[in-house]
């Protein structure tokens, strides 16, 4: 697989030289491959947001470096500016950052800053609106009139419209109800399918991670504590709980069944797969 982002010995210290000095991340070495959907997990203060803010040059490392498509993003001012277009960041509660008069203008803001042609801007706005389920009938409305879930989709569409090669979303489902969460997660998988982009999802929801990620990276106390396929990570339940994280309930049930002598493969950590496997077992068909 082709690497798209690589960090080398990435270290960041907040308030260096003051009594509040705090090492947020320490010696983080990681490689993200093109087309991956990676969930970056950790509780508050684990370093996951600090890590992510380095990936598009918002924060400068105290030691180590970040390479996007092989290029050191801090080598020159131009490189740091370019990376803002290559790596798109959707912040927490992005709906607070909507500011244009209309939904259309808000989504168009990023592409317009990239100095694209009007036709290109229009095409991108329509495409990302479609991918995020923002109906064209909303284009002339003020973003302030929309519901919370709609606002968030508009904000996400605005970043998608810049067609970044890597899309990073920080807690994109926080505060949404179950239907809203499912909707945003589907937008993300649709976007990835349509564009083949690399996606990083920063979250503390194990359920979100279980539902869509190919790979999980778990941050703990400023370093990477786990990095692997969901089934590998979810099989380390006790450690996750000790780190203040949850385990998807289905993974916990599967584990409890194994402890009771039921043979279930380790790849079962979502509700659907668990139901299929257990019903198949009960019917006397071997689960696949």
């Amino acid at each position: 697989m082709e690497s798209i982002i690589r960090t080398e010995k990435l270290t960041h210290v907040y308030s260096r030289g003051t009594p509040f000095e705090k090492t947020a991340i320490h010696d983080v070495n990681v490689e993200i491959y093109r087309g991956e959907l990676v969930a970056v997990i950790g509780h508050t203060g684990s370093g996951k947001s600090t890590f992510m803010q380095h990936l598009n040059g918002l924060l400068r490392p105290d030691e180590g470096g970040v390479y996007v498509e092989g290029e050191d993003i801090f080598a020159t001012k131009e490189a740091t500016r370019d990376v803002r277009f290559k790596v798109g960041l959707v912040f927490q509660y992005p709906e607070y950052q909507l500011f244009e008069e209309t939904v259309y203008k808000d989504i168009a803001f990023g592409p317009r800053n990239m100095r694209l042609s009007e036709a290109e801007i229009d095409e991108r706005v329509r495409e990302s609106a479609r991918l995020t389920g923002v109906g064209e009938e909303l284009f002339e409305r003020s973003p302030l009139e929309l519901s919370g879930g709609q606002k968030r989709r508009v904000a996400i569409a605005g970043v998608m419209a810049m067609r970044p090669r890597v899309l990073i979303l920080d807690e994109p489902t926080a505060g949404l109800d179950p239907a809203g969460c499912a909707g945003v997660l589907k937008n993300i998988t649709d976007y990835r399918e349509a564009t083949g982009s690399t996606v990083l999802l920063v979250t503390h929801s194990m359920d979100d991670a279980a539902r869509i990620a190919d790979r999980l990276i778990v941050f703990h106390e400023g370093t990477i504590a786990m990095d692997g396929m969901p089934e590998e990570v979810f099989s380390r339940q006790r450690e996750l709980v000790d780190m203040g994280l949850d385990v998807p309930q289905s993974a916990a049930i599967a584990d409890a069944l194994r402890a009771r002598g039921v043979q279930l493969p380790s790849s079962i950590y979502t509700s659907r797969r668990l139901r299929e496997a257990v019903v198949a077992l009960a019917k006397g068909v071997a689960p696949c």
């Binding site: 509780h43 508050t44 203060g45 519901s147 919370g148 879930g149 926080a174 505060g175 949404l176 109800d177 179950p178 239907a179 809203g180 503390h204 194990m206 203040g244 994280l245 949850d246 998807p248 309930q249 289905s250 916990a252 049930i253 409890a256 069944l257 402890a259 009771r260 002598g261 039921v262 043979q263 509700s271 668990l274 139901r275 257990v278 019903v279 077992l281 009960a282 019917k283 006397g284």
Partner: protein, 284 residues
């Protein structure tokens, strides 16, 4: 004679000014003193509106809300009602006003003109109750989300309310913060006899409630113990509410024709029930 409910709602209707549609459409409920009631509903179901009607931030368009037997529309009792019902909201940053934790907790009793010595003892007790006494001299903005929400709860407790209403208090917290807040609330109810109304869309937070009320489009669609409500899988799905993975698994087995209970809510109960079924069928 049965005890008087601490909250009584009679045919409550509410419409926001300028809205054509009703947000609450004929709600009737009684909440017993000392109980832990969870209110579930998707966005727009009317659950936050209900919270605001419980301490007279909003007043009914028609129908009645009684708190400790007092009509919330009766202005004479407004202060009493506000004191009886403490509210905690979703965003901890929007409800903390002071620069020091203990000052923040003292804010409401100060406004009520409580004697300084009495304030001191209330603040200390409230902070001990939520496990934040050691942080009394800290700056709130340096606390974690879960800690801030516990300070907000302490602020409500310093008014010595009889009912604590929490509107999605964990929506912005991580799993650890969520656990801190929910266990604090459970303890308040079980050990101090506080009536708790917890508004949430996290199913896992409702499992230990005495009663679960599901709201949809301004009406009650389910009301019972968590076991009773969660076993109504079809209804919950229709209302856009997630059903716990335990119940979904048991439901799938039932659909496939196997006899398993639907009310094995916890992971262990569920695993016991499923393992028993598989054992009986010789699959283990």
């Amino acid at each position: 004679m049965p005890e008087q409910p601490i909250i009584r709602i009679e045919d409550l209707h509410f419409t926001y000014p300028g809205d054509s549609a009703e947000t609450l459409r004929g709600l009737s409920l009684e909440i017993a003193e000392g109980s832990f009631v969870a209110v579930l509903g998707h966005n727009g179901s009317g659950k936050s509106t209900l919270a605001k009607l419980l301490n007279a931030i909003l007043l009914p368009t028609s129908g009645k809300v009684y708190v400790c037997g007092r009509d919330t529309e009766d202005e004479e009792h407004l202060l009493d009602i506000r004191r009886s019902v403490g509210l905690v909201f979703q965003n901890p940053d929007n409800q903390i006003v002071a620069n020091v934790v203990e000052d923040d907790v003292a804010f409401a009793p100060e406004n009520l003109g409580v004697e300084p010595q009495e304030i001191r003892s209330r603040v200390d007790e409230a902070l001990r109750t939520v496990g934040m006494y050691e942080y009394r001299l800290h700056a709130p903005h340096l606390l974690s989300g879960g800690q801030k929400q516990r300070v907000a709860i302490a602020g409500a407790l310093a008014m010595q309310p009889r009912v604590l209403v929490l509107d999605e208090p964990t929506a912005m917290l991580d799993p650890l913060g969520r656990r801190e807040v929910i266990s604090t609330v459970e303890r308040l109810c079980r050990e101090r006899g506080m009536t708790v109304v917890l508004i949430t869309h996290h199913m896992s937070e409702c499992v230990n409630a005495d009663r679960l009320i599901a709201l949809s489009d301004g009406m009650v669609t389910a009301d019972g113990t968590p076991r009773e409500v969660f076993s109504q899988v079809e209804l919950l799905k229709r209302e856009g509410l997630t059903v716990p993975a335990t119940v979904r698994l048991l439901y799938a087995l039932r659909e496939a024709g196997f006899d398993v209970p639907l009310d094995a809510l916890s992971v262990d109960e569920c695993a016991d029930a499923v393992a028993a079924l598989l054992l009986a069928r010789g699959r283990v």
